[in-house]
Every structure is written in C-alpha cells, then in structure tokens.
C-alpha cells in the first residue's frame, strides 16, 4: 500500500489550491504545503499576525525578526504583499474572506467537527491561539493529518472525543491513506492510495463511509 509521507500529503493538498486563492496554512504540518505550490500559480498566503502575500523563508543571516509568521519563524514578503493590524487580520478570517484554510487535527468528525487545540488532559495547559478563528472563518477548511494514531485508532471519527475547536467547519480531510469530504451528509471517500481497498479503509476507520463513483470504479 502506497501510504503517503508528509511531503506527499502536502503536495496532494497543494494540487487543490487554485490560482488566486487566499490561503492560511496552519502551524506545523500544513506549513509544508507552501513548498508544493507551483511558482507559476499566484496564490496569496495570509499569516494571522498581519501579513498577506507571505513569501518563503529568507536565506540564513537575512532574517528580519519583525517579519515573521504565525509560528514565529522569519519569512519574507512577496512583491504586492502588505501588512495590517491584528483586528483586520482576524476580520479577514472571521469575515469569510479567505478561500482556504489548511489545519492539522487531533480528530475530525464525519460531519466536519474539528478538534485540534487541546487534548483535554487534566494537567495540560490550554492554549488556543488562532485555531478557533481559522477553523470557522475560511470559505473552506481543509484538514491534513495522518488517518491513524500511532496506536492505530482512526482520527476521522463519528464524534470527536477531544475538546472541539469548531462545529461542522471542516469540508475536506487529506490523510496519508485517503481524501475525504465531510459535512452534514457524513464522510465520502473521494480518493484512496494505490493498493488500499474499500473494505480495508472501512475496517481501519470503523466508519460508515460513502465512496465516490471514481473510487468505487478504481
């Protein structure tokens, strides 16, 4: 079975981001998506700390620590990019102006609930950052995650057991094994890696999955 590695997952997500899209890539795994956006496609990356038109990391030694991303790493600004304050930045998210937001997750439910900010462990110090704003703000929220935990449990679930980040906010889930559409009608598998069968995906997730015609035909 051709399980995708993290770079392959990032490349897969990048394929679905069209020219002209306004996109926020969450901290962690989603950051990798930037590496796979084709240079000839003009795509606008937003960073929650007040930056639109984010460019790649600067060359070592060229860092400007007043030009950073949400992960507090040094970045650059593309020609045509601009700066704004925090209220405008989150208005951009909350007001539905971003086309796509790509986030990591602990769990996603088949109806699109997202859990990605807090494990719920009683001794954990909670921290939310911009996760809840990002989850609900963009026109489409994509999640990018390995489908199974190290213990082999599905992170795509009937109902999230971790504390929620947002309700019904995720529209698509990219994993190392399959790509799912999620929402009010439940989860549909729209793509599977080579060598994976419908039966096996049903088994490892333990979910009642729909399969798109193209997947069934494959």
């Amino acid at each position: 079975m051709n399980r995708l590695n993290r770079d392959q997952m990032a490349a897969r997500v990048a394929r679905d981001i069209p020219e002209g899209a306004y996109v926020n890539l969450g901290i962690g795994l989603p950051t990798k998506v930037a590496n796979y956006l084709p240079a000839e496609r003009e795509i606008f990356l937003q960073s929650e700390n007040g930056l639109l038109g984010m460019g790649p990391a600067p060359a070592p030694g060229e860092e400007d620590w007043e030009l950073i991303n949400a992960g507090k790493q040094a970045v650059t600004l593309l020609t045509g990019g601009c700066f704004f304050h925090h209220a405008d930045s989150f208005a951009m998210m909350r007001g539905g102006h971003l086309d796509i937001c790509v986030l990591g997750a602990f769990q996603v439910s088949t109806t699109g609930d997202l859990a990605n900010w807090h494990t719920g462990a009683p001794d954990a110090i909670p921290a939310v950052g911009g996760a809840m704003d990002l989850a609900i703000g963009a026109k489409q929220t994509f999640v990018m995650m390995e489908l199974l935990t190290k213990q082999g449990e599905s992170k795509l679930v009937e109902e999230c057991t971790y504390p929620l980040t947002g309700l019904g906010c995720v529209s698509r889930v990219y994993t190392d094994l399959a790509v799912f559409d999620v929402g009010p009608d439940g989860a549909s598998v729209i793509e599977m890696v080579e060598g994976l069968t419908i039966e096996e995906l049903q088994r490892v997730t333990g979910l009642n999955l729909n399969f798109s015609k193209s997947v069934e035909a494959a």
């Binding site: 606008f44 600004l77 045509g80 208005a91 102006h97």
Partner: protein, 228 residues
C-alpha cells in the same frame, strides 16, 4: 497571473442584477465613484438596495439612480441635503423605503459585516426614535442598542491608486467608507485614478489589502486634482 484590472466601468458592473444590494462609498463628493454609478444607471437594473451615507443630491450619482426609479430601499444617515429633491419626492410619494441609521452605527455595522460578527451592542441611538423596537441592554452601567451587520452583494468605491492584486490607497478624506465597504461586500469594485505596477504601493501603506477587492477600474476623473 492574477490581474483584477478591468477595462471600463460598464464591464466592471455588468453582473449587478435586479434586486442587488449595493454599497456606494463617498462622503460629499469625496470618494464618490461617479463613473461606476453612471455605469450602473446605464445598465438599467432596478429594485436595488443602496447603502450610502446620503441619498444623493442634484442630478447625478445616487440622485440620478433614484430619479430613474432604480432604488427600492436606501440605507443612509443623512438623506436630506441641499439639493436632494429626487429623494425627497420619491420618499414623500412612498416610492422608496428609508432605513435611517446614525452615521457611526452605519460605519460600525458595515465594519461588523466585514469582520463576520453577528451583531453589536452600540451606545449610539439609545433612548431615541431610531432605537424604537430594538433590543437594548445595560452593560456596566451604560445602555446599548443591538444592531446587526450590513452586508451587500456589491460595493462601488473610489480609491486613489490600485494594483493588479487589488491593493488600494486612498486620498485625503476620500477614504471615508471605502475601506470598510470593501470588506463588507461580496464583490468590491474600485475605481482608481491610476493602476500602478505591483510593488509600487509600499506594503506599510496599503489601506485596503487586495483580498477585499475583486475588480479595479482605472478611471481618470477630471474634477479632482491628482497628487503624486
């Protein structure tokens, strides 16, 4: 390559449809997108809801839209002006609906729409006719009125310079409602005196980031001097 520049006001407003809600920037003559309004009049669609600070005066712009019977409803703070006879006549004849909003609530409600808020408690208007029938609440000893966001299908605004990504800068008090209307409308159409190459606008100085602007129309108006 993304290029939001569009050639001519007519093409820019070609999808504004009957029944659309249309924000129009401007306060006085400053920031009024005259050529876009003219193109909207020429398009001939009606049953429009117009959101503007005023209700037009004289024979051009919003006044002409009203004169031609295209406006079902106007949302504004100050319809009565020196020469607002077309609005006055339509209003007295019951041919136009007026939603009168204190100017700061108008701005706050437009901003709330752009920011995705569901409603705001504002102190303006509490205890007055304009709050009648509205939900009120005392918070920390002050009284507030619940007001809802104002969204629109289109915003027609006038900026000073723009680039192909839709970034805008404004000129003096022509800025007024432009930046917040750009955020509140589904489709924002900005007429600019000049389209400049990408990168010519200092990233610190862009007032309206391109994400809020769908179309940029270069139109050289002759009635306003253009500073460098």
């Amino acid at each position: 390559m993304i290029d939001k520049a569009i050639d001519g006001a007519a093409a820019a407003v070609a999808d504004i449809h009957d029944g659309a809600s249309v924000m129009i920037g401007g306060f006085g003559t400053a920031g009024m997108p005259d050529e876009l309004i003219d193109a909207l009049i020429a398009r001939g669609v009606g049953d429009l809801t117009i959101i503007n600070n005023n209700a037009g005066n004289g024979e051009h712009g919003v006044a002409a839209l009203i004169r031609e019977g295209r406006v079902r409803k106007i949302v504004c703070s100050f319809p009565r002006q020196s020469d607002s006879h077309h609005f006055d006549a339509a209003y007295r004849a019951g041919k136009i609906e007026l939603e009168l909003v204190p100017q700061g609530n108008l701005a706050a409600r437009i901003q709330a729409a752009g920011a995705g808020l569901g409603a705001i408690f504002t102190p303006t208007g509490y205890g007055t006719l304009l709050a009648e029938g509205k939900e009120v609440r005392e918070i920390d000893g002050k009284h507030y009125v619940l007001e809802y966001p104002i969204h629109a299908d289109f915003a027609l605004i006038k900026a000073h310079k723009g680039d192909r990504w839709g970034n805008l800068v404004f000129r003096k008090t022509a800025r007024n409602f432009g930046p917040i209307m750009a955020m509140a409308a589904k489709t924002t159409i900005a007429q600019v005196a000049q389209i400049v190459p990408l990168g010519d606008l200092d990233p610190e100085v862009v007032v309206t980031p391109g994400i809020f602007v769908q179309r940029v129309v270069p139109i050289v108006s002759d009635n306003i001097a253009i500073a460098a």
